[in-house]
């Protein structure tokens, strides 16, 4: 049997996704339609974008605990400045991306734990978001709204966007030189350094790219919800981490999979609907969601063990 490790890694999230999708279709056949799929998945697009952002941070062996508040902050900027004074809005978002790059530099130079720095930053983003939008409100930029409610023929927007995102992220992170460099830093930083690369530049680019994806997530979210509030995306921090792990990524070692991460985000969204269709009371849903996650991870562990056993033999 010659299955590449990557394929095997992707098999678990794909299989769990299809299983859950089958379950949803079985419980509620009406979801098997253009509109049904649209409703099932439209909230998954911003989550998938945030998951890709988190994945980039995890690729260099760091973790971003400010993802949720940062996406909320972006949503607030998008619903106010980006709508009212687009130029100002763009400048603010560019400054936010530059801040992320600077964080990557500081974390590397001062050898700080990323979770501490990003946890601290999460309060900064949350504070800024409240300053910008003290009460829920604002208006989504028309173009963002137009993109998110557009109805392409045959396949709903959410699925088209997810597929495009998966392909784009795959090309960027798995195929390009920059992506190889970022993953190399996660795999063996010293050897990358010995080959004469600047670790500083690699880490700063990883953080800046992550921030760009997170900005896209915030704008998408506002496009869907039409207005924003300062706490709109708080759960994205944990959802994005879970999505990366679910999709075959790991916390250390630069082992990540963009396609897996997108599928992970879709699966997590789907799990919520699945449990609702099962009529599990909302009180139990979070616990049930956790149970699904544990089952998938246990399956992964089992496959990993088989994989390493095959190597020894």
């Amino acid at each position: 049997m010659r299955v590449s490790a990557d394929t095997l890694r992707l098999a678990v999230p794909v299989a769990s996704f299809l299983l859950l999708l089958g379950g949803v279709f079985f419980l509620q056949p009406r979801t098997m339609s253009y509109n049904g799929l649209h409703l099932l998945f439209n909230l998954a697009v911003p989550i998938a974008l945030a998951t890709i952002a988190q994945m980039l941070i995890m690729a260099v062996n760091d973790l971003d605990l400010s993802m949720g508040t940062f996406v909320s902050f972006v949503a607030c900027v998008a619903a106010t400045y980006l709508h009212d004074t687009p130029l100002m809005g763009v400048l603010i978002l560019l400054a936010a991306i530059a801040t992320y790059a600077a964080l990557g530099v500081v974390i590397y130079l001062r050898n700080l734990p990323s979770i501490v720095v990003t946890l601290g930053m999460s309060f900064v983003w949350a504070g800024l978001a409240v300053l910008i939008l003290p009460v829920p409100g604002g208006t989504a930029p028309e173009w963002a709204r137009a993109v998110m409610i557009s109805k392409p023929p045959l396949v709903p927007m959410a699925i088209v966007a997810s597929a495009l995102l998966a392909v784009f992220a795959h090309l960027l992170i798995m195929r390009s030189s920059l992506g190889v460099l970022i993953r190399g830093v996660g795999g063996n930083q010293r050897s990358v350094q010995r080959a004469g690369w600047s670790i500083l530049v690699a880490r700063a680019s990883a953080y800046a790219l992550a921030a760009s994806f997170a900005v896209a997530a915030g704008i998408c979210l506002v496009g869907l919800t039409t207005s924003a509030d300062a706490n709109i995306a708080l759960r994205y921090t944990l959802l994005s981490i879970a999505g990366v792990i679910f999709g075959g990524g790991e916390f250390t070692g630069g082992r990540i999979s963009p396609i897996g991460a997108v599928i992970g985000a879709l699966t997590l969204t789907l799990a919520g609907s699945f449990l609702s269709f099962l009529r599990i009371s909302p009180d139990w849903q979070i616990g049930a969601q956790g149970a699904i996650l544990i089952m998938v991870l246990a399956l992964r562990l089992l496959l990993n063990r088989l994989e390493s056993k095959g190597r020894v033999a």
């Binding site: 990557d6 030189s177 795999g187 063996n188 050897s191 350094q193 010995r194 080959a195 690369w197 082992r255």
Partner: protein, 482 residues
């Protein structure tokens, strides 16, 4: 020694100090094209340091580096690579999460641009085929999925590959340690071809036969200096071992002949002899670094310490060699660092008895002379040697009958060393067993019995007067089954 200019690389009078340790002490070495230099020496002789200086990873505090007759200043990794210096390190220096092609991209910075994958494949694949014909490695696969030998092969092929800047000086640090005989022969044949074509190679190996057969010049290092240098056929096996040791050495402290008593430790090793130690014995583990000594200590520890539920009386205790990594608790006081291993003895109903703990501190402060005004000072206020003494006190103050020591004297000054040697002797006479891994031969001479490791197996057992630098060196460097 100055040679005419065309040297690929020349290091003149380089000196490197790490704190009090002189890793390099005025070394001059020039490497000519078409030359294979065999570099040999015992642990800590300075081989790795000179390699780091040559590949630009380490800037010497003193000395100059020339390439093709021009002085290179500043010299660094980038300059070294642009002069065609390539290095295969002893530890894995590929990214395990990337494919071989992607690793090639990382190693060759100039490879960028569209369709780099095809170009990278065109670089690494011929190199691998040339050095190891019939290797059977899928270059699109992940490095993490390869065996250790295959990773080593890829790394070697990477160093010899040419992406615009041809390799001119390739440094191979123990390249054959994980290759079998057939692959080693292929590699050495390639080295000869490369050298014949005008390239230069520095070969470091503990397999003296390889050095004797392949090198056109052999350089022997000891204590950060070059102590001997001869051309092809200038050395034979015996004279090379001779050159690595020092001629005369003052006899170390006398050993008391221990009567053989009951064995307290026993462990079967996957290959070679099995390990056993007796009560009241000091057993030394010798040989080159990384040949299985630390693994043995860890295996002994795992076997004798409970995995789930702590025992009231531990069977073994461990003195770590890498203080900062796995020895001390940076933020704790000296006292807490010392008593952490015997907390159980000093607590009642789950609470630590402050008074008992303080008394223990006072007792050991006096016994091993920890130089501090107050045991409640932070551990980092102590010098390295005194921190190490605290780690000894931590181990010795437990009731464990066996002490495992993983090169504990690294970076400790001579005075402290002798104090600790005395303590070890006294404790051994009182019936404790010590298993002591050290890279320093003098320390091995303090042991009752020395086991020499090579490639994960015990290859020699020395006792009494047979323990000498010469015999340890010979056992750790032996060629094939000799």
């Amino acid at each position: 020694m100055t040679l005419p200019p065309p040297a690929v690389l020349e290091v003149a009078d380089a000196a490197v100090r790490f704190g009090e340790v002189r890793a390099l002490d005025g070394v001059s070495l020039s490497i000519l094209p078409g030359e294979c230099i065999g570099l040999v020496g015992h642990n800590g002789a300075g081989k790795s340091t000179i390699v780091s200086v040559i590949n630009g990873g380490l800037t010497p505090q003193q000395g100059e580096i020339f390439s093709d007759g021009t002085r290179m200043a500043p010299y660094g990794i980038g300059v070294a690579r642009s002069r065609g210096v390539r290095c295969v390190f002893q530890e894995l220096s590929l990214c395990p999460n990337l494919s071989i092609i992607e690793n090639t991209r990382i190693m060759h910075r100039s490879l960028g641009g569209f369709a780099w994958r095809r170009r990278a494949q065109g670089i690494i694949s011929p190199s691998l085929d040339a050095i190891f014909p019939g290797h059977g490695i899928d270059i699109r696969g992940h490095v993490g999925a390869l065996s250790i030998a295959q990773r080593q092969m890829v790394e070697i092929a990477m160093a010899f590959s040419d992406a615009g800047q041809p390799p001119r000086l390739v440094i191979l640090d123990e390249p054959t340690s994980s290759l079998d005989a057939g692959l080693s022969a292929q590699l050495l044949a390639h080295v000869r071809r490369f050298v014949a074509g005008g390239g230069a190679v520095i070969l470091i190996s503990h397999m003296l036969n390889e050095i004797l057969e392949t090198a056109s010049r052999i350089v022997v290092m000891k204590d950060g200096k070059i102590v001997a240098e001869r051309g092809e056929r200038g050395f034979d096996h015996a004279s090379l071992v001779e050159a690595m040791g020092s001629a005369a050495r003052d006899q170390a402290a006398a050993r008391s002949a221990t009567a053989v008593t009951r064995s307290v430790l026993r462990l079967a090793l996957p290959k070679g002899r099995s390990f056993r130690a007796f009560k009241g014995e000091v057993v030394g583990l010798a040989g080159l670094g990384g040949h299985g000594q630390t693994q043995l200590l860890l295996a002994l520890f795992d076997m004798h310490s409970p995995q789930w539920w702590p025992r009231r009386d531990p069977a073994v205790t461990f003195v770590a060699g890498d203080r900062r990594e796995n020895g001390i608790f940076d933020l704790w006081s000296i006292l807490k660092n010392m008593t952490v291993a015997s907390m159980g003895e000093m607590s009642r109903r789950g609470f630590v008895q402050d008074r008992a703990e303080a008394a223990r501190g006072v007792e050991w402060k006096a016994r091993i002379d920890i130089r501090t005004p107050d045991m409640n000072n932070p551990i980092l206020s102590l010098s390295g040697g005194n921190q190490q003494k605290v780690l000894f006190a931590r181990a010795l103050s437990t009731r464990a009958p066996v002490v495992l020591m993983d090169d504990p004297m690294r970076g400790v000054d001579v005075g402290t060393k002798h104090e600790v040697y005395g303590m070890i002797r006294a404790e051994a006479e009182a019936g404790r067993t010590f298993v002591w891994y050290s890279t320093e031969t003098e320390e091995m001479q303090l042991c009752d019995r020395v086991l020499v490791f090579r490639e994960g197996a015990i290859v020699a057992e020395l006792t009494g007067d047979a323990i000498s630098e010469h015999s340890i060196l010979r056992a750790s460097f032996e060629g094939e089954a000799a």
